[in-house]
Structures are given as C-alpha cells and as structure tokens.
Amino acid sequence: MNYLLRRLVTFPLVMLGVSILVFVAIRLVPGDSITAMLGTEAGLLTPDQRQALAAYFGLDQGWLVQYGKWLSGVVSGDLGLSVTYGKPVLDVILQRFPLTLELAFLSMVIALCCGVPLGVFAATRNGRGSDLGVRIFAMIGQSTPSFVIGLGIIYVLSAGFGILPSMGEYIPFAQDPLGNLSQLILPALTLGLSFTASVTRISRSAMLDVLSDDYVRTARSKGVPKRKVIWRHALPNALIPVVTLSGVEFGYLLGGAVLVEQIFALPGLGRMTLEAILQRDYALVQGAVLFVALNFMIVNLLVDLAYVTLDPRIRLGGRS
C-alpha cells in the first residue's frame, strides 16, 4: 500500500507545479494582461476602462497575490470567463468533455481487444510468417499519423461510396445510441488503429521477454499445457508495460485528439482548445490545459492502482 500512498502524496505537489506552469505561461504571452484576459476586444478599451478592469481582475497586484487568488478560484471550480463563449470556462469544458471521453474510451476498447491478442499471438509464433505479418501491420499502423489515417478514411468513403461522415453537435449515447455510434465510429477507428498498433507491439515484446523467463520454464516442467502457460503464467506478468502504455495513450486522448476532432469536425475538447488558442481566449486555454492535466494525472493514478493489483511485489513491498 505504501507505493500507492506515496503516489497520492506527490499528486497535489505535481498538480501545484502544473498550476504554476499554466499560470506563468499565460502571463508570458506577449502583450499586456488585459489583452490576455479579455482577448482581442481589449483593443477597444479606453485607458480608464483598462485601469478599472486591471483593478477588477487584480492585475495591479503582485504576481504572487494574483496567483493565490487565481488558485483559490480554481480550487472552488471558478476557472474564469470565456470571452468567445461568454460562459464560465468550466461550463464550456464540461459541455465538450463527454464526447472526448467517449471517443478515448472507444479507441482504448478497440486497441485492447485487438492489440493484446494480436501481440500474444505474434509472440508465440516468434519469427514465423504470421508474426512477420502482425509486425508489419503494427509498424505501419504506428508510423501513420492519425490525421493521415482519418483523411484516408474520409477520402475512401466519399470518393468510393459518396458517404460523408456526420458532423455537427455531439449526440449523447443515452439520447440516440445509433446516432451516437455512427458519429463516433469512424474517429474511434481512426484513433484506435494507431493505438492498436502500439498495444500490439508492446504486448508482443513484453510477451517475448516473459516467455524466456525462468518461471515459464518451471511451469512447463510441471506439465502445464501450452495455452495455460501463455494465458495464466506469462500474460499476467507481461501486462504491466501494456497497462502503462494504454494509460498514457488514454490520458493523451482525454486531452482531446485535436487533429482527428478537427478532421471529423467533432465538437470535442481538443478542437475547443485549438480554437481558444487561435482566438486568443486565454482564460479558456488556461482552464482547458489545467483540466486536461488533472485528467491525465488521475489516469496515471489509476494505472498505478492497476500495477498494485497486478504485481504483488509492488503491493507488498520487498521482504522486510
């Protein structure tokens, strides 16, 4: 348990570091802070209005005070106002998040369901033709940027079948399951393909490592049948790198697959962040980055939890 506790203790520390980085980053944007807070419209203000606003936002105070105020706002869920949307930043984010979450989840399900069996299969056929086939697929899958895959899919569908992917508002699953899936299946496949490729590669190499370990030889010497050796003795030991990789990739996707959302015109978190950057909606950028970093760290914590259940050496510590 110690391991997990230690991770829990460092969590707020890293989060604090993240908040400082985000705060400082936005203050480093060239130009004055009013512009940074209000976006392009700040150009229309008179000097008096500027000063009033500066006092209102507390910009006339020291950075430390400003940071303290901002942080206490963040802790109570106040991430500021988005100028482009005219709504609280948190509301905008929470409205965009479900789509991104579902997309990330679908991609991970695809990746784990296809990648792990493929990787294990390839490892047990090490060096044979079928192994080579899996490796070539994984290599190409990993080397093709997801937006190129996405563009390819759109091209094939539109040129070949005259179908265009559905665009527009997010359709929640609970509201219209079919509409939801038809909206998300192509982007999920797009993201899932690269994800599957990575999972396949890591499963294969972890499995190869484990299959040459001493305890696998011991299991065989006991007369354990081949399939059981692979699934019961080897796989649980090979899962840790797979879990690590899947966690990191899933965390990335929670930040929004900017490129794929852009191509499929999906109103997700990533596209929102990109638009906020292009429109200089700094409060929204700041909030989004912080929100995503928090998600990413929570996913990492869940990965740690998975380690603890998978590996008794982490759970129980060394011999004491």
């Binding site: 460092t10 520390l13 890293v14 989060m15 570091g17 993240v18 980085l21 985000v22 980053a25 936005i26 480093l28 944007v29 060239p30 290599m139 190409i140 990993q142 080397s143 093709t144 940027p145 937006f147 190129v148 563009l151 390819g152 759109i154 091209y155 539109s158 040129a159 990575s198 590669r201 890591i202 190499s205 972890a206 190869l208 490592d209 790198p241 990789l245 990191v248 965390g251 990335y252 929670l254 930040g255 929004g256 900017v258 490129l259 852009q262 191509i263 962040t273 990109l274 950057i277 292009l278 700094y282 950028v285 980055v289 995503v292 970093a293 990413f296 760290m297 990492n300």
Partner: protein, 280 residues
C-alpha cells in the same frame, strides 16, 4: 564501426529503415541547396490542379505549383524541425538526466519533480501551450517539440545512468580515485551511447509526426513556405477532385516516420536487447 554497419544492414528492418532515411536525407539536402524540378513557390495558373503527368510527376496544386517540388521542400522543412528539436531535447535531457543520476539527493529531486510536472501534460497539449505563449512558426515548432521531448530524454538517460552507476566498474573507478568528470564521460556516457542512439532515432520519428500535426493545424510552418502538414491541410477540400494532393504528402509523411521507426527498432535489437521491454 564498419562491422556495426554491416550488422545493421544485415538486419532486415535496419536495411529498409536505413535506406528510407538516407533517401529522405538526400532529398532534404537537395531541397536545402535548391535542387528541385520546379520552383516550389512559382505559380502556373494555367496548370492548376493537373493530375500526375510526365511534366509534373505528382501533379500540381490549386495555384499550379509543382507538388513534387513542394514535397521536397516540405521534407527539408520537416527534417530541419525534427533534427533541431531532437538535438536540443537530447542535449538538455542528457545533461539533466546524467547529473540527476550522479549527484542524486536534492538535485535529482528538483529535476525529476520538474519533469513530472512537464509529463503531467499530454505531449501535443504542452506543445500547443508553448505555441500559445510564443506564437506559431517554424522556430516555435522546434522549441515546442524540444520542450516536450526533454523530459523523456531525461528519464531515458537517468534510468540506465543509475544502473550503470551501481555497476562494479564504477566502484572500481572510485577506488582508484578517478575524477567525477572522468567517470561521467568515460564510464557513464560511453555506456549510454547505445540507449541514446535508439531513443534519438525513435524521437526523430515522433518529431516528424508532431511537426506534420502542428503545421496541419496551422501552428507550425507558415505559408507560403511548404511543409507536409500544410499540404495535407490544403488537400482536405480538394480531395475528391484532386486526390494526388492527399495521397502523395500522406504517403511521404508515413514513409518518413516508418523509416525512422524501422531504423530505431533495428538499432534497439542490435545495441540493447534488454530495452525491448521499455519500448513504446
């Protein structure tokens, strides 16, 4: 060295990877010194959106510019970004990781917590944040990618450096009274060359990927300069009419990344079989 090259070329994916990387390097060099079939910026209005032909092997774009020439310039541009950013990240990351592993204690704590903070962001988001602050452009892309990759290099160096530090030959060096700089350069660095080479190659693949993504979003290389990501972005609305605008840049990006990935895999097999487990 010669025997190593022989082994690399005897490795099937090493052979293919090395071939692709060399080909791209040659193209990038040609583009840098200005050897392209046509002037990549010159517009031939009459030749707009021509399909592949004897005159324009890969067709022309909506301004009548030669796609192949623009692709060559794009490769040059991508390689410039990839090599500079990975160079910076490798240098800074190695320095941080090496000193963190050797001096330990407070310095190690400070460096690694800092890296934890940077690693708490998804990579593309960190790059976006960086570009928000500095503004889009080629130079920003270089810095942003370097910034994102530095923590990864720091970790890649620190782990092996820690384990090498605990090896008997370092203890032996300490019993002779060898200086810290001698131990760091001769014992640690020499043994880190292998994992670093592998990581640099894989980082180049990732850097190409990120660069094309950033310029696809309009945050990297700015027009009228050419880059692979920009060309892909331009192709979106024309893909049914002029699919070559999508197909050639798409394949070019994929093949380039594939080359570095294959080379990196081969190097890992040859240099450090134990690193397979850590492969991502």
């Amino acid at each position: 060295m010669r025997s190593f090259l022989k082994r690399l070329l005897g490795h099937s994916s090493g052979r293919i990877g090395a071939f692709i990387v060399c080909l791209y390097l040659a193209i990038a060099l040609a583009a840098w010194v200005g050897i392209t079939p046509y002037d990549p910026l010159k517009q031939f209005r009459i030749d707009r959106l021509q399909g592949p032909s004897a005159a324009h092997w890969m067709g022309t774009d909506m301004f009548g510019r030669d796609v192949m020439s623009r692709l060559m310039i794009g490769i040059g541009q991508s390689f410039l970004v990839a090599f500079s950013s990975v160079g910076i990240a490798a240098l800074v990351g190695t320095l941080l990781g090496l000193t963190a592993a050797w001096f330990g204690r407070l310095w190690d704590g400070v460096v690694m917590r800092l890296m934890d903070v940077l690693l708490a962001f998804p990579a593309i988001l960190l790059a976006l944040l960086f570009i928000t602050v500095v503004g889009p452009g080629t130079f920003t892309s270089i810095l942003a990618i370097a910034f994102v990759y530095t923590p990864i290099f720091t970790r890649v160096v620190r782990g092996p450096a820690l384990s090498i530090r605990a090896r008997d030959f370092v203890d032996a060096a300490r019993t002779f009274g060898s200086s810290t700089s001698y131990i760091l350069t001769r014992h640690l660095m020499l043994n880190l060359v292998a994992p670093l080479t592998v990581q640099v190659t894989l980082a180049l693949a990732w850097s190409l990927l990120t660069e094309s993504g950033l310029s696809f979003l309009g945050l990297g290389t700015q027009p009228p300069n050419s880059s692979l990501g920009l060309m892909l972005a331009d192709s979106i609305n024309l893909m049914e009419m002029a699919p070559w605008l999508l197909i050639f840049p798409g394949l070019t990006v994929m093949l380039g990344i594939l080359g570095f990935n294959l080379l990196g895999d081969a190097l890992r097999d040859l240099l450090d079989p134990r690193m397979r487990r850590a492969a991502a």
